[in-house]
Symmetry: C2
Amino acid sequence: MTETNRTVRLAARPDGLPDASTWTIADEAMPHPGPGEILVRVAMISLDPAMRGWINAGRSYIAPVEVGAVMRAGAIGEVIASHSPAYATGDFVYGPFGVQRFAAVRTDAKDHSDLVYKIDTGLAPASNWLSVLGLPGMTAYFGLLDVGALKDGETVVVSAASGGVGALVGQIAKLKGCHVVGIAGGPDKCRFVTGELGFDACVDYKADGLYKALQAALGDRRIDIYFDNVGGPILETCMTLLAMHARVVVCGAIVGYNDTSKIQGPRTYMNLLVQRARMEGFVVFDFADRYRQAQAAIGGWLRAGKVKALEDVRDGIDQFPAALNDLYSGGNFGKLILKP
Amino acid sequence: MTETNRTVRLAARPDGLPDASTWTIADEAMPHPGPGEILVRVAMISLDPAMRGWINAGRSYIAPVEVGAVMRAGAIGEVIASHSPAYATGDFVYGPFGVQRFAAVRTDAKDHSDLVYKIDTGLAPASNWLSVLGLPGMTAYFGLLDVGALKDGETVVVSAASGGVGALVGQIAKLKGCHVVGIAGGPDKCRFVTGELGFDACVDYKADGLYKALQAALGDRRIDIYFDNVGGPILETCMTLLAMHARVVVCGAIVGYNDTSKIQGPRTYMNLLVQRARMEGFVVFDFADRYRQAQAAIGGWLRAGKVKALEDVRDGIDQFPAALNDLYSGGNFGKLILKP
């Protein structure tokens, strides 16, 4: 075999935004699948805001990526060799293949973050299995319906509305008859969120006057569910506009991922008391044994044209560092996917 | 009738801690009960941290006390004249009688904060109806058991542990087999909390090293329920020690009542995500139609000697301003009650 495996490894933990010194990109020998393992040719890699947290030294909800290791990533690929009776050459699979062109992995991981499963490219295009049918989709689905306990016709606000999670949160809420307001950066994204995704309104957080703009978008309504992907002043502002018995779903806090000095608590949290409201965090892996259920539901909406998969696909494994940083500057437009 | 009614009225909204200019204390003509009203001789007045919020201009969960009005307070007293068929002279009642010696009130209020009901001084001494059987008791009971959804044997931390609410939260949690850590100001209060109230440990927040002291008090345990009466750095610290699926019950935020510059959001709130935890606010009035149930339960524990009513009773209506401010400096020892 003359092929080599091009990999992105963590060279050093970054202080702030990752840069050239954070990553080592190199050609390596092909991996060989051990007993029970499969060898996968990676077709598409998911780039997620949470990646920044994975390369910090401390454990949060998942163990950190070790310095020197291939960067962790969910990905899809084709099985090209199998030492597992459950998988055959030619199967398409989702798994923790990392930022590399080939991966040899076990298929019986107990940890939900290391789950491997076959995907049905007849049900939806392969890329969808990283977006609306992948972790962003699962995050939106369970965060909104289970953690948020959405009721038909409620008022929903979601930040990072043009991102992989936010776009689906709003579309599902619209399907459930909700009034949906997105928050996104810049007029182009806002136009997309209302025009293409069908949200009722979208507020540009980069413009002045977030509170007034959000208030105008809500009219007489107050927020039943605020689905928070960003933290910071946007979270703080949304908490002043909660309805009685509102739910604040804590999904992420992009604002602080690269600059911990920007992490702030919402000074307006006592609105939780005034409005008898709750704020709740979750980790999507906890719902792993119900992914199939969510994928069937979202797959049905996709085929019926009720939900759009919004994807921003980049080409070439060497683009990984730049593409990842786009997530933190708002340079992506939909779910960011890298073809290695 | 030669008697007069001594009253405490709100003279001006304070900026910061209330002072002499906040209140007008004067003798007035006796009130006369109108149709459907009762005239009550006020025996004991409840002083609550929440009072500071009631004299701000803005509405929070309850309308503000108007400038010129008698200060709002829950109180107990004896009916001395009745124009209501449901009440007779000599009945002891709880109601929104305010900081004054006599009150004429309707008994059919629809608003739960204005509820009037008879109390059974055979079941417990009158003062108990302002402490463990009154709003502090109801707050502790429903906040811990309903909002916090306490499970037997969990680990519970409560701030303002020697106050009217905190003392009962910890005692109920002990009854349920929990490991209970209080947070209080100063060694005297901490000794009382462990010695008299039977908490497993008490951390002095006025000493240095809150995090380390709390960690030591918890040992290998993490916090299943943090019942927060104070906000600020104590809340922020407790959120770093949450167990999986923990609940943070938002009951109050004494730290910011008199100095809004001290209001801060907990910068550690992303622990809600890591621990799949929730933070939830409540207002005790929402549980008004279940007060009888809670009073029966707590009354039973009182008679069985399983719960102590911790009361700090002050004499004389003119002591109201000083006694109230004691609540904010930590100068009280248990539920603060004023005999007018």
